[in-house]
């Protein structure tokens, strides 16, 4: 995705989502503070705020993790993308699937880097008509699931033997590209190094 597209589409979407969440948290805290009879004791109140803050930070970290993943795919920084997965993670991107980080690395090295896959993700964008993303953190704060709605530009390498494809390549068209509406469904785990992708599927 180009810088302008980042600003105008997905990045704006993620930033906008984060801002909404931040505003929601702030509004809740303010409302709670205006109800004197319901106020918890000072220590509990501090813990609650700490939990809210941690929750907010986790959600934002997951958003950033997803943003990093999509940006890495768009920029063909596939090694960067692979490092976002935990060791036993699973990946499924529009028919290309792999289980385990080694296999994910192989998938990106061949199907994406060498354009050997039948279809690869080329870029992402958000439509304001789509549903907002949804992130759910487990009670223990160690796992999370998320749904990110977006549009993906699918790129299908032109077939090798077709005259049409041969001529299209001469005009600079290397692949068929079209946008498709879909969503990422993801599962995350939090380890010592922060959040990692445990499973990611685009449908």
């Amino acid at each position: 995705m180009t810088e302008s597209k980042m600003n105008g589409t997905r990045r704006a979407f993620f930033l906008r989502g984060g801002a909404v969440l931040g505003a929601g948290v702030a509004a809740t805290a303010t409302a709670t503070a205006l109800l004197p009879g319901a106020l918890p004791p000072g220590a509990d109140r501090l813990q609650e705020l700490q939990r809210d803050l941690t929750l907010h930070q986790d959600r934002e970290a997951i958003r950033q993790l997803h943003l990093t993943f999509t940006a890495a795919v768009e920029n063909q920084a596939y090694d960067t993308a692979v490092e976002l997965f935990e060791f036993h993670a699973a990946l499924e991107l529009s028919g290309a699937s792999a289980a385990g980080r080694t296999a994910i690395r192989q998938l990106f090295a061949t199907q994406y880097r060498q354009q050997l896959g039948p279809v690869v993700h080329n870029a992402y964008r958000h439509s304001p008509l789509q549903q907002p993303d949804l992130i759910t953190i487990s009670a223990d704060g160690a796992q999370a699931t998320a749904t990110f709605h977006c549009e993906v530009e699918l790129s299908t390498p032109l077939p090798p033997n077709s005259t049409l494809a041969q001529m299209a390549r001469l005009q600079g068209q290397m692949a068929e590209r079209h946008w498709q509406v879909g969503r990422f469904e993801a599962r995350y785990v939090k380890g010592a190094g922060g959040w990692k992708i445990a499973a990611l599927r685009f449908t």
């Binding site: 039948p118 299908t156 032109l158 077939p159 090798p160 033997n161 077709s162 005259t163 049409l164 494809a165 041969q166 001529m167 299209a168 001469l170 005009q171 600079g172 068209q173 068929e176 590209r177 079209h178």
Partner: protein
């Protein structure tokens, strides 16, 4: 009715000589005296002095001694003398001359009303050097497999103005898409008759009615330049063929042309003449750019050179591929939706368990079938005891009209059968595709057979009625979108004659781009339902056969191809169509 002068070899089959630079120089020697012409030259330039300034190009200072002799100083250098010719076209002047002792010259269009000038600097024996440099920059091998192409005219285009000592005009002539979609019939003063179709902004195709009989359309890289709303400069170079340049002024108010033709014909003889002609429009089909896109900018020149990209295989290589590496529909795994099959229809499996016989007339094949399931069938020629297994795919491009294909016997050359079953009346048509032509073993060719089929529950077929060849599609243009996306994998077919067609690849902005042509054949099955077959001769060798339905603007078809990669393949074609329009060319082809 035009006089037919068919040639034993159509243009794409002529083995044009790969002339040396010295041979080209020798052949061009007579150009020193200027072009010839059946019509009188214009004397509009006689006695005049003309100073032309071009943007980033040459400065040309002409002194015209009379209507046939000029002196030219290029970029202030010593003046040379040359013969020339000039013609007027609606106030524009077309000037043509070569530079003695060289293989280059100029075709100049001057508009005295605006002082704007377009200069074509034309040269020969320049392909190899330019191609080698371009290849080095692009880090690819130069395309020299088919020779150095010294005979192929090269051109540089310069826009500029006449310097009369006053302020230089700001405007310039511009590249344009304003001719895109137009078809013309031209009759020249030398009795040459052509149909020209301007259906791309990079290419055009033309049918030489008088010289080649009008069977085939051929394509050439073309420049389109707009002088004003009714006057245009059209220039094509018959790359991959004779390499000849044709440059003409087209006046759409007068429906007239003034042009020059410069090059070496198939006998390596010089053609250097100017001509005038009268035109008739044959139609205007749609163009697909967004409104406001006038095609005024051009990227790097794009040329399709099939003689370079066509892999020439030996007999043994082809034999090995067709016998040992033959695959139909992924050997039962399906054709997939990639490439030409992005909009294939639903796979028809309802014939599973059924048997039928397709019986072609006049000694054509009689094939018995047992459909095992939705992917496999057994077949045999009637009278033969052995059943053969084959993968097949079947589609229903019109109601109760089925189209399926499978490979025939593993022999060399190898064939496939593409079979249409018309359940409404019991008719059947088989297009048999076979590898090999008299020119190349890894080309293919089709044979049409018309007949009937017999199956339990099917209607009793008629005695006399048959599907048949047709010229109903002549002049029609359809876009075919083979995959989602814009432009996706999309081309336009122009069915220019009953025996040929051309295809145009759309560029990203919707304009027509590269274009090429091949033989093509058309048969009618029902009203609005046709089988069209083509062979990409001297290009890729592929046989494409589509059953196209104008009612739903969709097709179902099959591709048959031999190559080093993929061996012999039988695959599916499925695309969605739009009607781009029609050219009324039947009368020029002697069909009405």
């Amino acid at each position: 009715m035009v006089t037919r002068n068919y040639r034993s070899l159509q243009m794409h089959r002529i083995p044009y000589t790969d002339l040396s630079e010295a041979q080209v120089a020798q052949a061009l020697r007579p150009t020193v005296s200027g072009p010839s012409s059946k019509s009188a030259f214009s004397d509009v330039l006689a006695g005049k002095h003309l100073k032309i300034v071009t943007d980033d190009g040459p400065r040309l200072e002409y002194n015209f001694r009379n209507s046939r002799e000029l002196e030219l100083s290029e970029n202030g250098a010593k003046a040379i003398k040359a013969g020339y010719g000039a013609m007027d076209s609606g106030g524009l002047t077309l000037l043509s001359h070569m530079i003695p002792g060289s293989q280059r010259g100029y075709e100049v269009v001057v508009d005295p009303r605006t002082r704007l000038v377009t200069v074509f600097e034309v040269s020969f024996s320049g392909y190899a050097a330019a191609e080698t440099a371009a290849a080095a920059e692009a880090k690819r091998a130069p395309q020299l497999k088919n020779g150095h192409r010294n005979r192929e005219a090269q051109r540089k285009i310069w826009f500029g103005y006449v310097d009369d000592g006053t302020a230089a005009p700001v405007a310039r002539h511009l590249y344009t898409n304003r001719l895109e979609g137009k078809g013309m019939h031209w009759k020249q003063d030398n009795d040459i008759e052509l149909l020209e179709f301007y259906v791309s902004i990079l290419y055009s195709n033309f049918i030489e009615l008088t010289r080649f009989g009008g069977e085939m359309t051929v394509c050439a890289p073309t420049d389109y330049i707009m002088v004003n709303d009714h006057q245009f400069i059209y220039s094509r170079i018959e790359a991959e063929f004779s390499g000849t340049l044709t440059l003409q002024l087209i006046d759409l108010f007068e429906m007239a042309q003034k042009g020059v033709r410069l090059g070496l014909n198939e006998k390596d003889e010089l053609e250097y003449y100017m001509y005038s002609g009268k035109g008739e429009p044959t139609g205007q089909i749609a163009s697909f750019e967004v409104f406001g896109n006038n095609g005024e900018s051009r990227g790097p020149r794009r040329l399709y050179r099939p003689f370079e990209t066509f892999e020439v295989m030996t007999d043994d290589e082809v034999k090995d591929q067709v016998l040992n590496h033959a695959h139909a529909f992924g050997d039962g795994h399906g054709s997939g939706a990639a490439g030409m099959g992005g909009y294939k229809g639903e796979l028809i499996t309802k014939f599973a368990g059924k048997s039928l016989t397709a019986r072609m007339d006049d000694g054509g094949p009689v094939i018995q079938y047992k459909f095992i399931d939705g992917k496999q069938l057994k077949w045999r020629y009637e009278g033969n005891s052995n059943w053969r297994d084959a993968w097949y795919e079947m589609y229903e491009p019109d109601a109760d009209l089925y189209f399926f294909a499978h490979l025939l016997d593993a022999e060399f050359p190898r064939s496939c059968a593409m079979v249409a079953l018309d359940i409404k009346n019991g008719l059947s048509t088989i297009v048999k595709g076979t590898t090999g032509t008299p020119f190349r073993n890894n080309e293919t060719h089709p044979t049409y057979y018309f007949g009937i089929f017999q199956m339990d529950g099917a209607p009793t077929p008629p005695q006399y009625l048959r599907h048949k060849m047709t010229d109903e599609m002549v002049g029609e243009a359809y876009t075919w979108n083979y995959s989602p996306g814009n432009p996706g994998l999309t081309s336009m077919h122009l069915y220019a004659t009953p025996s040929t067609y051309s295809w145009i690849i759309f560029q990203a902005d919707g304009s027509g781009g590269l274009q090429w042509s091949s033989p093509g054949w058309y048969s009618k099955l029902r009203d609005g339902v046709y089988i069209m077959a083509w062979v990409e001769e001297a290009c890729n060798g592929t046989l494409g056969v589509i059953l196209l339905n104008r009612k739903i603007m969709h097709d179902a078809g099959f591709g048959y191809h031999v190559g080093r990669q993929g061996g012999l393949s039988l695959s599916v074609i499925g695309a969605r169509a739009r009607h781009a329009g029609k050219f009324e060319v039947m009368k020029y082809l002697g069909l009405v």
